[in-house]
């Protein structure tokens, strides 16, 4: 199995906030090649997460997307996980940087708490519907990106989300992952806790979370 992983919708680069890309179902595996992607373009991301300390990260010249090296991992910015073209671009950048094939990143994908933008004041039912659409479209886009690179073996999408999450309860999450094209979805029996933030990074909390693993078959 290729020793790499890709994450979607990253926020802060700080430990406990960035998505844990090392956990696998029933065991722990060290990952060699990590590609992290953030929805926000680099200037927006910097304003939200790199205030005060203003860390300098080496920028990478990619021509297509803004990318940086943070703690020896490659981050690509402005990546919308519901667009296969964005995922493909990020994988191309990481493949060129690490000099490994796309399979290294696409075989194991990790996502923590996808959430629709502008949730404030939104009716909770509408937010759940929007979040379901977001997960469904993300799985479909990942599937398209895998097809683009000719990936034929099974792909695992690990989603960290509390089973009691008002923004998308477990059953809704599983349904959305299947509608997007997952052949099966399992919930890992282990409990984890991580730090998580609202999309605008104004509200942060350490919460218990579950890991749901969706499998794509080709």
């Amino acid at each position: 199995m290729p020793n790499g992983a890709m994450t979607l919708a990253e926020g802060s680069q700080q430990k406990d906030y960035k998505t844990d890309a090392t956990l696998i179902l029933n065991g722990i595996d060290a990952r060699g090649y990590i590609l992290r992607t953030a929805y926000d373009p680099l200037p927006v991301w910097k304003a939200k997460y790199a205030k005060g300390a203003s860390p300098f990260y080496p920028r990478l010249k990619t021509g297509i997307r803004e990318a940086a090296l943070i703690d020896e991992e490659i981050w690509v910015f402005g990546i919308d996980g519901t667009r296969s073209k964005d995922i493909i671009d990020a994988v191309i950048i990481a493949s060129a940087y690490y000099k490994v094939t796309a399979r290294y990143f696409l075989n194991s994908i990790y996502i923590k708490n996808l959430n629709a933008e502008n949730e404030r004041g939104m009716d909770l039912k509408l937010l759940v519907r929007k979040n379901k659409a977001l997960y469904e479209e993300t799985v479909a886009a990942i599937k398209e990106a895998c097809a683009h690179f000719g990936i034929k073996d099974s792909v695992s999408i690990h989603v960290y989300s509390s089973s009691i999450n008002y923004k998308i309860p477990k059953d809704d999450l599983h349904q959305a992952l299947k509608l997007g094209g997952a052949s099966s979805v399992e919930t890992d029996p282990r409990k984890f806790n991580f730090r998580s933030a609202s999309n605008d990074n104004k509200l942060r909390a350490r919460v218990d979370t579950n890991m749901h693993v969706a499998r794509l078959d080709f």
């Binding site: 205030k51 005060g52 708490n113 949730e119 404030r120 939104m122 909770l124 937010l127 509390s162 009691i164 999450n165 008002y166 923004k167 409990k191 806790n193 730090r195 998580s196 933030a197 609202s198 999309n199 605008d200 104004k202 509200l203 942060r204 909390a205 350490r206 919460v207 218990d208 979370t209």
Partner: protein, 105 residues
Amino acid sequence: MPAFWVIDTRCQVLPQSALPQDGSAYYYGRSVVPAESKESAIEKLVAALKEQDILVETVLATVVYEDGLWDDDDEFEVQASFEEASDSNEIEIGCFLSEKSMKGN
């Protein structure tokens, strides 16, 4: 010259709040509030949290930042909150800990 008050709270969070949630009954917070007095600091914080659908149930402690002894790795990220509050002169809510996430540690 306002002081920077560190206020520990126990809160209930409404489902529609943007705060990440896990079904816990309570969430614990440590926020930094610039204000002229302790009473005014508490009042400002309660109002700011209410706007985020976070309801303060109990104020557990209130202390001026400089008078506190903070761990380097304070779980509520109080140092970062203090730095940002000093820069902006605005309330920094900090990182909440859910009751469930505290039981596992």
